[in-house]
């Protein structure tokens, strides 16, 4: 009982901290960058990380197995992965755009898991015979880490696409025009535009660089996850590849990100091309991670929504 209470407390603490972090990010975005506030948000994310870690450890202790046996637990693990992706660059003192992606992602997953939608599966379920293996930890944690990294990377690519194809905001242009009416020569305007384009190309370059980095890490995790899953399947199900829907979708995800990595090798193409591939990959990850569980088909239907049974 004490474990359940502890788990409850930790869930709520982590959720509220992430919401506060999001608020801070919004303030930073809309009003002004207050350095202290920004720094506190980073510290809050570390606190969240420890809360979720505590949550997972608590579950591990009282259920007696690694807490990755159903959808609820894997979602908690997903938000844990988001928070770890968030704080690793923080400790390496690298300022980047990742935090803008990871913090809301952690919020949404955390919010979704703790919401009433999934109350049925909150209880730690027993482990069915097929899951009783050491491969569970390796396979599922690698897959979820891979999903988290790939989601972050592909969201960065989506942001890149938004910046690339967004129409220029006209407000600044007008201000400039009003302020310099006496100075309205052609040169002034062209230089101004080049400055704005310069900023734009800079942020595109950085988004491209970071999404590539995060996706390549996620790709490695996904590769290891799929391969360890195949080895496990050869122990438990009788073959290393069973054409199971979840397997197939994981392989489709892998293929899409392989396409991303290949399109990116061609440096002559603009970054938008590979970003489109990554955005398609974003949708496919969700089909793979959620869609297959939602339908509850195939061999992987362990922690699916219990809608069909009485």
């Amino acid at each position: 009982m004490i474990f359940l209470t502890l788990e409850h407390i930790l869930t709520h603490i982590s959720f509220s901290i992430v919401s506060i972090v999001i608020t801070i990010h919004l303030i930073t975005l809309l009003v002004d960058e207050i350095v202290k506030l920004y720094d506190s948000s980073e510290k809050a994310m570390i606190a969240t990380f420890f809360c979720i870690t505590g949550l997972l450890v608590t579950r591990w202790i009282y259920s007696g197995h690694f807490p990755l046996s159903n959808l609820y637990e894997s979602l908690i693990f997903l938000s844990w992965s988001f928070s770890i992706i968030h704080i690793v660059p923080y400790f390496k003192k690298q300022k980047n755009h990742l935090s803008a992606i990871t913090a809301p992602s952690a919020l949404f997953t955390q919010g979704f898991t703790t919401s009433g939608l999934l109350t049925e599966v909150h209880q730690s379920a027993i482990l069915v015979p097929a899951l009783q293996s050491e491969w569970l930890i390796m396979h599922v944690s690698m897959m979820v880490l891979g999903y988290a990294a790939l989601i972050c990377g592909s969201l960065l690519s989506v942001a890149l696409l938004v910046i690339t194809f967004r129409k220029d905001i006209k407000i600044f242009y007008k201000n400039n025009h009003l302020g310099n009416e006496s100075f309205s020569n052609v040169f002034g305007n062209t230089y101004f535009f080049s400055a704005k384009n310069y900023y734009k190309s800079q942020s595109i370059q950085q988004l491209d660089h970071w999404s590539y980095r995060v996706i390549s890490i996620g790709f490695i995790f996904l590769t290891i996850g799929i391969l360890s899953g195949a080895v496990w399947a050869n122990e438990a199900w009788g073959s290393y590849w069973n054409w199971d829907p979840k397997e197939i979708w994981a392989f489709i995800t892998w293929t899409v990100f392989a396409i991303y990595l290949h399109t990116r090798t061609n440096t002559k193409l603009p970054p938008a091309n590979s970003a489109i591939v990554a955005s398609i990959g974003f949708l496919i990850i969700w089909i793979c991670y959620f869609g297959v569980n939602l339908l509850g088909i195939g061999l992987h239907s362990y922690g699916s929504f219990t809608l069909t049974s009485n």
């Binding site: 009783q132 040169f187 230089y191 195949a230 489709i252 290949h262 090798t265 069909t308």
Partner: protein, 606 residues
């Protein structure tokens, strides 16, 4: 200007160290300038001027070094009979016309196959087909498709069962379309590996000893170290992670070989996995069997071949005896694990192996793997009015969901009458049996082995035992070792290709860091100077991006010439960083203090 530098260099104690500062790449100079400017928050005009100045000074520095090396090349102390290094000329090939045509054709095919957009298209098509394979139910009877994809109401306006049967989408993963696409992808992988490997082999041929100081000093980065030993240089390069080869007075060293071959390794690993998969599909046997506890079966009777390469082995004559089938339960009554105690008997009836298998713990013997996959209830042993025991066969009852239910029936009274009445017994697992009387009313629950009798309408029943049968899957798969080798190689090579880019990435980050500061400066810069600065950044950026692109690893040559060591190096990767790294390494080379040799070297360059 040239002579001035020369004098300087010969008179200082360590001339090459002095030049190192001048040798610094324009980026690093620019970088340090930006740092200091940022701190001082200087205005735009100074930035512009300074940037230009640094660029010029860097160029001048390069010119000076070039001149200096040119001088030492022409020095009389150099051995003129040094062998000609560089790329050996490729031998001419005389071949017949048809051979040429064939070669031309194969080259054409290769270039088409190794085309990246084609490979990407193949991957995308395979992904789409697999997705379609999960949407369309696989392996159903034709009637199912007639109903689900009717001709009068096509899905999406065109998709009917005709499409499914024409393209084989009812068995997508073995359809000719899907398999031929996989084969095409494999061909593309091979072609790509081949065409990528050829340039690499050429590169590897160039990685040889260069015996002429002139050739070395013509490299992108070249340096002359008087009073130094090539052995010391080799040790230092080895410490810096270079592969060093030393032969007599010549040295060559390179780095990042793993990063060069890792992408090819990834491709080869994929091919290995595909080959293993093909072998599995063509040469394996499969079968499943449900055997009650206590009975035997012969392996060869169960296994059926899957492809033309399937060949039975001696182990197929093995007989399997089920000693015991049991189930573990959680406290809540749910199944924890299934166990089957198996004995393998050879043709003479001797036990060759015994193992208790469970889910996740199969038995392997002579290439055959036996998995625990399923279970069922086969018989119920009962005593009726202390007679028996009787064996009642249990039949599976259909239920929705994956819960199992088995039932049996014990007739009571006149067996010949048309409406037989009796006692029904139902069981979900081996733990407890539910009994119903002749009217179908619930009578009670008994556990097997409890020996507690139950009285139903005057009939005393004791449930002696519930005998389960184990569901086993058997297979032989010659492809598994190949596939596992591919898995290992794939994991290794993906990790290596990621890590080998880390160096280039660190360099890239440095560039981004300086760019962040650059953005800060831009706040102070007026429009007019903006274009100029941005142009400068663009050139350095291009250098850096080239550094990121996969290509040649850094290669270093050196030649001992008397007491002087001539060092040259080139790289395609991390171009901006390589000169710095090389300077740092060359700084570490210890100086040999010998008077007679320094005399000669000084006179030659002075």
């Amino acid at each position: 200007m040239g002579t001035l530098t020369l004098n300087l260099s010969t008179r200082t104690l360590k001339p090459y160290q002095h030049h190192n500062n001048l040798l610094k790449s324009p980026l690093s100079l620019y970088d340090s300038q930006i740092h200091c400017l940022c701190r001082k928050k200087n205005l735009s005009i100074t930035i512009h001027w300074k940037l230009k100045a640094t660029k010029e000074s860097a160029e001048r520095a390069r010119n000076r070094v070039g001149k200096k090396i040119g001088f030492s090349d022409g020095a009389p102390s150099l051995s003129e009979d040094a062998g000609n290094g560089g790329v050996p000329a490729s031998p001419d090939r005389n071949s017949s016309g048809s051979f040429k045509l064939l070669k031309k054709l194969s080259r054409r095919v290769l270039s088409v196959l190794s085309n990246l957009p084609l490979a990407i298209g193949e991957m995308a098509t395979i992904a789409a087909l697999m997705a379609l394979g999960t949407i369309i139910d696989q392996g159903e009877a034709p009637d199912f498709y007639f109903q689900k994809y009717p001709e009068d109401n096509p899905v999406l306006g065109f998709f009917t069962w005709k499409w499914i049967f024409a393209l084989g989408f009812d068995h997508m993963f073995s359809s000719p379309l899907f398999l031929s696409l996989l084969a095409l992808l494999a061909a593309s992988l091979m072609a790509c590996t081949y065409t990528t490997q050829i340039p690499l082999v050429k590169v590897a041929r160039r990685w040889s000893f260069v015996h002429s100081a002139e050739a070395i000093s013509k490299q992108e980065i070249a340096e002359t170290l008087p009073r130094a030993s090539v052995q010391d240089l080799g040790v230092i390069l080895m410490g810096a992670g270079y592969e060093v080869f030393l032969k007599g007075p010549s040295l060559y060293a390179f780095k990042g070989l793993a990063g060069q071959f890792a992408p090819i390794g990834v491709h080869l690993a994929m091919l290995l996995i595909m080959a293993g998969g093909t072998l599995s599909a063509a040469g394996s046997f499969r079968g499943s069997v449900t055997v009650p506890q206590g009975l035997n079966f012969i392996v060869g009777d169960v296994l059926g071949p899957s492809g033309f390469l399937s060949a039975p082995t001696e182990a197929f004559g093995t007989e399997v005896h089920i000693n015991r089938f049991s189930m573990d339960y959680y406290d809540s009554g749910e199944v924890r694990q299934f166990h089957t105690d198996l004995s393998l008997l050879d043709l003479e009836g001797n036990e060759v192996m015994r193992k208790t298998i469970s889910v996740n713990d199969p038995l392997r013997y002579g290439g055959i793997t036996i998995y625990q996959t399923d279970w069922s209830l086969s018989t119920l042993q009962i005593l009726k009015d202390d007679e028996g025991p009787f064996n009642l066969a249990m039949a599976p009852l259909k239920l929705n969901g994956d819960k199992k239910l088995f039932g049996t029936f014990l007739p009571v009274g006149n067996n010949d009458s048309p409406s037989v009445k009796g006692i029904s017994m139902l069981a979900r697992d081996l733990q407890s049996i539910v009994l119903y009387d002749q009217e179908g009313k619930f009578a009670g629950i008994r556990r097997p082995n409890s020996k507690l009798p139950i009285d139903i309408d005057g009939t005393k029943i004791v449930i002696v035992d519930a005998i389960g049968s184990t569901g086993l899957d058997l297979k032989t798969d010659p492809g598994v070792p190949v596939v596992y080798a591919g898995f290992g190689a794939l994991m290794l090579t993906t990790c290596i290709s990621f890590l080998s880019h880390a160096q280039a990435r660190a360099n890239h980050d440095q560039y981004f860091d300086c760019e962040f500061e650059f953005q800060l400066i831009c706040e102070f810069v007026t429009y007019r100077y903006m274009g100029c600065v941005a142009g400068y950044v663009a050139t350095t950026k291009r250098e850096l991006l080239e550094g990121l692109a996969p290509g040649l690893s850094p290669v270093i040559w050196a030649l001992q010439d008397g007491t002087t060591v001539v060092v040259g190096g080139k790289t395609n990767r991390a171009k901006a960083e390589f000169p710095d790294e090389m300077n740092r390494l060359l700084d570490q080379v210890p100086e040999i203090v010998e008077s007679y040799s320094s005399r000669q070297s000084n006179s030659s360059s002075g």
